[in-house]
């Protein structure tokens, strides 16, 4: 025959046990919330960076400035003759 006494928790013990359980639950929920916030922030940062990468290169005007001593006129075919300041003759082919 087995003899023994059934251990029954007192109210005080039971309450402290429940409190610890509740604290653990709260901690788990807080950790989940923190993980969620960190993930959301990481995604937001990644999205902002991706958008910035797309728009980070502004379109600057490319318009080459003439050099000081550059030739006034250059023709694709033939030659240029200057007859006076700002008057030029283009020899674009053989005249007939």
């Amino acid at each position: 025959m087995i003899k023994g006494t059934l251990y029954v928790k007192t109210d005080k013990e039971w309450n402290s046990f429940m409190d610890r359980l509740e604290a653990k639950k709260k901690k788990r929920i807080t950790q989940k919330k923190i993980r969620f916030v960190i993930t959301a922030l990481a995604l937001a940062v990644a999205a902002i960076m991706a958008l910035n990468l797309k728009t980070s290169k502004p379109n600057y005007l490319f318009a080459s400035i003439p050099l000081k001593n550059s030739q006034a006129i250059m023709v694709e075919e033939g030659s240029v003759v200057e007859i006076s300041e700002n008057a030029f003759v283009l020899n674009t082919g053989v005249s007939k």
Binding site: Y60, S64, A72, V81
Partner: protein, 227 residues
Amino acid sequence: MKNKMMILFLCLLLPSIFCISKGIERIRIILQNRAVSSVAPRIMEELTPSGMVSIDASRNALSISDESAVVDKIQRMISELDVPARKFAISSTLFVYSNKPQSVFKQDNKLIDVADFLNTSDASEKYEGIVDIKEGDKGEIEFKQSPYSLSIELGGFDPWERKIRFENISLKKKSENSKVTIFSAKANLKEGVETVISIQAKSPHPPFRLNLNPTILPEIKIEKEHP
């Protein structure tokens, strides 16, 4: 060990003393409006033999080191160059010499012949046109009641030399289905000055004279009126 440290110290000190004694200054400028590669060649023309320009294309920045007077001048230049695209009115007059004997454009003595020709002969046809184009843009002058048109692509403007770059000037003639290019050229023309370009006859085209006058247009700011 001490000797090595001394040599290292001198290596660092001597170039600094050299730079200070020559008044070498170094600046870095980030351009806001213009591509650095379009401005740098003109800036390099202002440098002394001891000067140097380096380009950071990814940040659109210029690093300049030269004598302080030159650096100050370049800074002033950049402040005038690094502006939004300026607008120009390109006015043009086209003279067509279709009824003129083309022998005046003989290869020998061409200078005398053409100068005489420009001074004495009258054109059989004359057309006028104007177009407003911004730096770096393209435009076209359609000469009214004529088969001719002038295509223009503008480059940049040098405010000190008052020269405007024409990346392309093409005189075209409309034929049945397409346009035939009579001549095509690149040019650096004076702003506010009329440039005369005489184009030799090339069969089947007659000789032409093209007068081009690029004029800078003032920037007009429209302010909203308060009710």
